[in-house]
């Protein structure tokens, strides 16, 4: 599903450049539940941005769903994001003046689905994350856990190939963290590839494979106990 070979990325800082990713090789198969761990500055967010087509890499090859990602213009990137990827962010990133239902339906709008149909599909996904009764509420009327569940529903609504979650539990307490992780596990159980970035050991433990990054290099890549238990 995701194949990365000898990936390099550096950012210019003044005259110097900061080498963030120093040759990453990573292969994620369909249906995997992977977490990327590392301290801040280890390059994990950069990796996720590149995987999510929000940023471009300097060197190396990146295949998404078998397609080589190279020289993408914004339009193509937007279409690929819409088609293959679903995003879950640490700060939820819901649009504040839209209701939960409208937020979930937004990716379908960019897909070109008509309003009636997309509201129906969005409602199904809201139901799936257990927030059907909150459909007409604005984000600021929801708790953190509820917001993240809306965001997950939004990430799932286009039926993507991969769900990318950047610190999905970073802004949540322990109880809600568990409920969000349970949700991600359920999604994975249904066959969805899930790619989580986190620095919390407990969160990473709930995934099936942990990739640890340090200073732009993968230092370990191991299956978790949860995976072994299967």
């Amino acid at each position: 599903m995701i194949r990365i070979e000898k990936l390099h990325k550096s950012y210019p800082i003044g005259k110097d450049s900061l080498h963030v990713l120093k040759g990453i090789d990573l292969h994620i198969k369909e249906g995997e539940f992977v977490s990327i761990m590392g301290s801040s500055g280890s390059g994990k967010s950069t990796l996720l941005n590149i995987v999510g087509l929000l940023d471009i890499h300097d060197e190396g090859d990146y295949y998404l769903n078998g397609q080589l990602i190279k020289d993408l213009n914004e339009k193509k990137a937007a279409i690929l994001r819409n088609k293959f990827l679903g995003f879950v962010f640490q700060s939820f990133n819901l649009i504040s003046y839209k209701t939960a239902l409208e937020n979930v339906a937004l990716p379908l709008y960019y897909k070109g689905m008509n309003r009636k149909e997309r509201l129906k599909v969005a409602m199904d996904y809201l139901d799936k994350v257990g927030l059907k009764d909150w459909a007409s509420h604005l984000p600021n009327e929801l708790s953190g856990g509820q917001k993240q569940r809306v965001a997950i529903a939004r990430a799932l609504v286009t039926n993507p190939k991969v769900v990318l979650a950047d610190e999905p539990t970073g802004a949540l307490d322990t109880t809600t963290t568990d409920s969000v992780m349970d949700l991600l596990k359920d999604i994975n159980d249904e066959g969805m590839t899930v790619f989580v970035i986190t620095h919390e050991e407990e969160v990473a433990e709930q995934t099936k494979r942990i990739v640890r990054l340090r200073d732009g290099i993968i230092i370990s890549d191991t299956p978790t106990k949860a995976a072994k238990a299967l």
């Binding site: 929000l54 940023d55 914004e74 339009k75 937007a78 088609k83 962010f89 939004r154 286009t158």
Partner: protein, 414 residues
């Protein structure tokens, strides 16, 4: 263009406008004020022009008046300071020599006289005239008729008096036609009463009698006091004025460069001055209106730019969810066009309402200062189109700003 008719597009725009009600409102006022000013100013200028046209409407505006004074240069054995008079021979010569240029020619004799009826009397201007006067200076008759050719031929003792003279000598609603009044102790039968309007009337309150009658009664022989000349359509009135004066100077043995011998007043020239003023005012109106409009449109561009800046993160989210740069651009431009359009329409409606109020307050009746203040529909449509085009152009800037930022940078923004 399909996106224009997509209810979702409008849903999105409604959503983002609703989010910033106050700011959007204030922005709209900028453009609204511009087009409102344009409409009201243009309407007022038009009203002024109309009232001007109304005031001079009864008068052939391409007219020249000519009279004699005294010479200021000795010529052909005559000393300077010589006084002389125009006569009917001049009229004949002018009529034949300028057959193509001159449309109407009215020789006139005038004097002040005592008018008496029963026990009432008053001093008024008495004018010996030809029927042609009615064509140069249209008279609105309340009773009867103006002088005609029969009156001239028969030197009839008949008179056409002004409304004010009528009011002085007759009872209210009394029938004046057929009654006699005494002018300079001679009985004249009243055949007409003309309305004293506030429109241009250089004669004032006058009793008109036939030219031939005047000639006999006041023994003026062939002399005339002055003349009114009206040019044909398309004739250069100033050129005609100087040509006519030269001919007259020749006829009366006046030095060709004598400045004082003849007095003349060129109504066409005076009106052209005023028309020039009106044109200037219209230009000013356009200038102020359009400048205000542009300022308003810039305000919209500015506010959209701020909005885009504030919504950088939102735009980043949308792009992460699959919004193409084109769809983002479309939305922002459409928002700009929508705002300018709404503002434009409200502004036009408000302007038209104010013009209606002006019309009812000042636009009707005899003394109207602004007659029918209106604006042409094509002008409004043009201004409106310009507004929409400007709205689109100005929307391009924030739209561009919104899409140059990489989604990752947009998302990072807090």
């Amino acid at each position: 263009m399909k996106f224009l008719f997509d209810s979702d597009t409008w849903q999105e725009i409604y959503g983002s406008i609703r989010k910033n009600k106050v700011r959007t409102g204030i922005t709209i006022i900028g453009v609204l004020w511009g087009i409102f000013l344009l409409v009201v100013l243009l309407g007022a200028a038009r009203g002024l022009e109309n009232s001007f046209n109304k005031a001079f409407g009864n008068f052939a505006t391409n007219s020249v008046f000519v009279w004699t004074q005294s010479t200021d240069t000795p010529f052909k054995g005559f000393q300077k300071g010589r006084r002389f008079r125009l006569n009917m021979k001049d009229i004949q010569v002018l009529k034949s020599e300028y057959a193509d240029e001159i449309k109407l020619l009215a020789p006139r004799n005038q004097t002040m006289n005592l008018i008496v009826k029963d026990f009432k009397s008053g001093s008024f201007k008495v004018s010996g005239d030809f029927p042609v006067l009615d064509q140069i200076q249209k008279k609105k008759l309340i009773y009867g008729r103006f002088l005609n050719q029969n009156d001239i031929t028969s030197s009839a003792k008949v008179t056409v008096i002004s409304e004010d003279i009528y009011k002085q000598f007759f009872e209210k609603d009394e029938m004046p036609i057929g009654q006699n009044i005494k002018i300079n102790s001679i009985n004249y039968k009243v055949i007409g009463v003309y309305e004293a309007s506030n429109t241009a009337n250089i004669d004032g309150d006058t009793a008109y009698i036939p030219f031939s009658t005047y000639k006999k009664v006041y023994n003026t022989a062939n002399n005339i006091d002055w003349m009114m000349i009206t040019a044909n359509e398309g004739i250069d009135i100033e050129q005609m004025e100087s040509d006519v004066l030269l001919t007259l100077k020749n006829l009366h043995k006046v030095h060709p460069e004598d400045e004082r011998a003849f007095g003349s007043f060129n109504l066409g020239k005076e009106i052209a001055k005023f028309t020039g003023f009106l044109t200037g005012m219209q230009f000013l109106t356009w200038f102020v209106g359009i400048a205000t409009l542009i300022a308003g449109v810039f305000a919209i561009g500015n506010i959209l730019l701020i909005t885009v800046k504030e919504r950088t993160k939102e735009i980043g989210i949308r792009r992460a969810l699959g919004a193409t740069p084109k769809s983002i651009r479309q939305q922002i431009i459409l928002e700009s066009v929508f705002l300018t359009t709404v503002a434009g329409m409200v502004g036009i409606i408000m302007g038209a309402t104010v013009l209606m109020i002006i019309d009812t307050l000042f636009g009707q009746g005899e003394d109207a200062t602004l007659v029918n203040p209106t604006v042409n529909i094509p002008i409004i449509l043009a201004a409106f189109t310009a507004l929409v085009v400007l709205g689109t152009l100005i929307g391009l800037i924030p739209a561009h700003m919104a899409t140059v930022v990489k989604p990752i940078e947009a998302l990072r923004e807090e």
